[in-house]
């Protein structure tokens, strides 16, 4: 029997909503998978496409970007940048041989601990079904 594939997922969490939401999920004892490797950024607008590509290059099987809901950004409209950037990058990922499903953008507010648990669990299952990214990239 081979061990089940455990994907490694880099998650960029904005400081004000999603990181606090993750914290809240922990306080509420909601299980979120250990496959999520969190990186705190001040705003989801800080996440540049280069960082996401860097994560894939360094061996991530998936990248999750979580920010404040549109209209709730701590920095007024930083996430308006995110909502433009990430879908564009998703479109381009296919050209470099990475399944766009491996990149997910979602909104988790600091109060949405159950949503944080749900989104992370879902995404881990999605990426687990896709298998290792290295197989696609040939890395």
């Amino acid at each position: 029997m081979t061990e089940p594939f455990e994907p490694r997922i880099v998650a960029f969490l904005c400081n004000w909503c999603s990181y606090a939401g993750a914290d809240n999920a922990g306080i509420s004892r909601l299980p979120s998978p250990a496959n999520i490797l969190p990186i705190r950024v001040m705003c989801s607008g800080r996440v540049s496409p280069e960082m996401i590509l860097r994560a894939f290059r360094s061996g991530a099987d998936g990248v999750l970007v979580l920010g404040c809901h549109i209209g709730d950004c701590h920095y007024i409209d930083g996430n308006h940048r995110t909502i433009k950037r990430i879908p564009l990058l998703r479109n381009l990922l296919g050209y470099i041989g990475i399944n766009p499903e491996r990149l997910r953008l979602d909104w988790v507010s600091s109060a949405e601990a159950p949503k944080f648990a749900q989104v992370t669990q879902e995404f881990v299952e999605t990426v687990r079904a896709l298998g290792p990214a290295a197989r696609e990239i040939g890395g």
């Binding site: 455990e6 490694r8 880099v10 004000w16 250990a34 496959n35 490797l37 990186i39 950024v41 001040m42 705003c43 607008g45 800080r46 996440v47 540049s48 280069e50 960082m51 860097r54 994560a55 360094s58 061996g59 991530a60 209209g71 709730d72 950004c73 701590h74 920095y75 007024i76 409209d77 930083g78 940048r81 950037r85 507010s109 600091s110 109060a111």
Partner: protein, 449 residues
């Protein structure tokens, strides 16, 4: 309230609303709409003659909770500060029918001004305290309590008017028929701790319900049936009061009051389940519902004006549930009282004191410590394209005479949106530099799962 009205350093703006906030901690500008009260505040002496002589009576849904009437020119309640009335233009005969003007004719100082318009004020403030309170939940939303089907089914707030010396009965506890009740039921947790309404505990209903039970026993001697799920007498001297109410002879039924039925003869049948006795019912003359509290109906608008978060119960979110209970995510904006969550009077006073002290601390320091997480520009790399200027949500970046980006550290909040936007890699958000984040990515991916 009187002290606040008289204090030389306090400007009371009643009948006014904040429409917009700009600026940042220590330097807010509040745009305030001061509504036209149709009475000149600087001339009115508060004699009350207009209110006495006004011919239009209106059911007062606010202070009297529908149990009493007020005039079309009125003060919200007799101790209201400032002691200046307001004309309710929706009900005033002059505003609806074009004639009357009784108040203007009688006013000894000529303070009535039907032409008065709203005025907009721009006020410079250093800090903001949100103390917008709560609203009562409407018990009609759960029809099993039959609220609205009998005038003798009332809420706790309505009972407060009934038992108040300034209330509709002068403080006598009477049914709608004007009789002393012989049997009264009190139902706790109406709309609270109920997945069909609000999941949270409204916290102060147990204590006021015990107070009501005590007052009914004391003033009328009526039999009181108190339906409760859990008696939450958590505060100082509260449990002692509960014991005293038990000694008063109140019958406590350990189970939620499930249903109120209006019987053909007008009496009320309250059904419930006692944890010890099983199904029980009581036929009574009056039912008091200890209804839940909830956020104000305009909390959405207030949250967006002041940049406040909300907790899942929809009350305004504090910065940290345990360690920062009065601060918000926006520096310089604080919370006090039930705007943040249900609390009783002693807890509200403590919360308000804490909010006031946070402001005093902020002002006494005289300067604000900002996070070192700000953006800096490497002028050697900057090509002056201006992408960062467009990306910055705070207009913290400008272009110098040498066509280079320049960051105003006091305005920068360190979000890093400019860093992600810069095509030349010339602008860096300190403590969240590309190198630091890349090192984190690489480090995390060395972890073997």
């Amino acid at each position: 309230m009187m002290d606040a009205g008289r204090h030389p350093n306090i400007t009371l703006l009643t009948y006014s609303e904040v429409e917009a906030i700009s600026g940042y901690v220590g330097n807010f500008t509040a745009r305030i709409r001061k509504r036209a009260r149709s009475v000149k505040e600087d001339i009115c002496t508060g004699c009350g003659l207009c209110q006495e002589k006004c011919p239009t009576k209106v059911v007062d849904m606010a202070f009297e909770a529908g149990m009493g009437k007020r005039k079309a020119i009125y003060r919200p309640f007799s101790q209201a500060i400032p002691n200046i009335p307001v004309i309710d233009r929706e009900n005033c005969r002059f505003f609806t029918q074009g004639k009357c003007k009784v108040c203007q004719k009688l006013c000894p100082t000529g303070a009535i001004d039907y032409e008065q318009q709203d005025t907009l004020l721009d006020v410079q403030v250093g800090a903001i305290i949100i103390a917008t309170g709560f609203a009562m939940w409407d018990p009609m939303k759960l029809p099993q309590y039959s609220y609205g089907l009998s005038p003798n089914i009332i809420t706790g707030l309505q009972f407060e008017r009934l038992t108040s010396a300034t209330g509709p009965t002068g403080g006598e506890i009477l049914t709608a028929e004007g009789k002393k009740p012989e049997r009264v039921a009190i139902i706790h947790c109406v709309g609270s701790r109920d997945e069909h309404a609000h999941l949270y505990c409204s916290r102060f209903c147990c204590m006021y319900s015990l107070k009501h039970a005590h007052q009914i026993r004391d003033k009328t001697g009526a039999q009181v049936y108190d339906f409760y799920m859990d008696m939450r007498t958590f505060g100082k001297a509260y449990e002692e009061f509960y014991v005293r109410t038990q000694d008063d002879g109140v019958v406590f039924i350990h189970g939620r009051g499930a249903e109120v039925e209006v019987l053909p003869d007008g009496r009320l049948r309250v059904k419930g389940e006692d944890a010890d006795l099983g199904l029980v019912a009581a036929d009574v003359d009056m039912v008091i519902l200890a209804t839940a509290i909830e956020p104000q109906p305009d909390a959405d608008r207030v949250a967006s004006i002041f940049g406040l978060g909300r907790t899942p119960d929809h009350f305004f979110a504090e910065a940290h549930p345990k360690l920062r209970p009065v601060e918000t995510a926006t520096a310089g904006v604080f919370l006090a009282g039930c705007a943040q969550g249900p609390r009783d009077v002693p807890d509200t006073v403590a919360h308000a004191d804490a909010a006031a002290m946070q402001v005093v601390r902020l002002f006494n320091q005289g300067e604000v410590t900002i996070s070192p997480t700000v953006a800096v520009v490497d002028t050697a790399r900057c090509v002056g394209c201006g992408d960062c200027i467009l990306a910055c949500p705070y207009s913290a970046i400008s272009r110098t005479a040498e066509a280079k980006a320049q960051v105003n550290a006091a305005l920068c909040h360190g979000c890093g949106t400019c860093t992600a936007a810069c095509p030349a890699g010339a602008i860096t958000a300190l403590h969240f530099t590309d190198e630091e984040i890349v090192a984190q990515i690489d480090g995390l991916l060395e972890i073997v799962l």
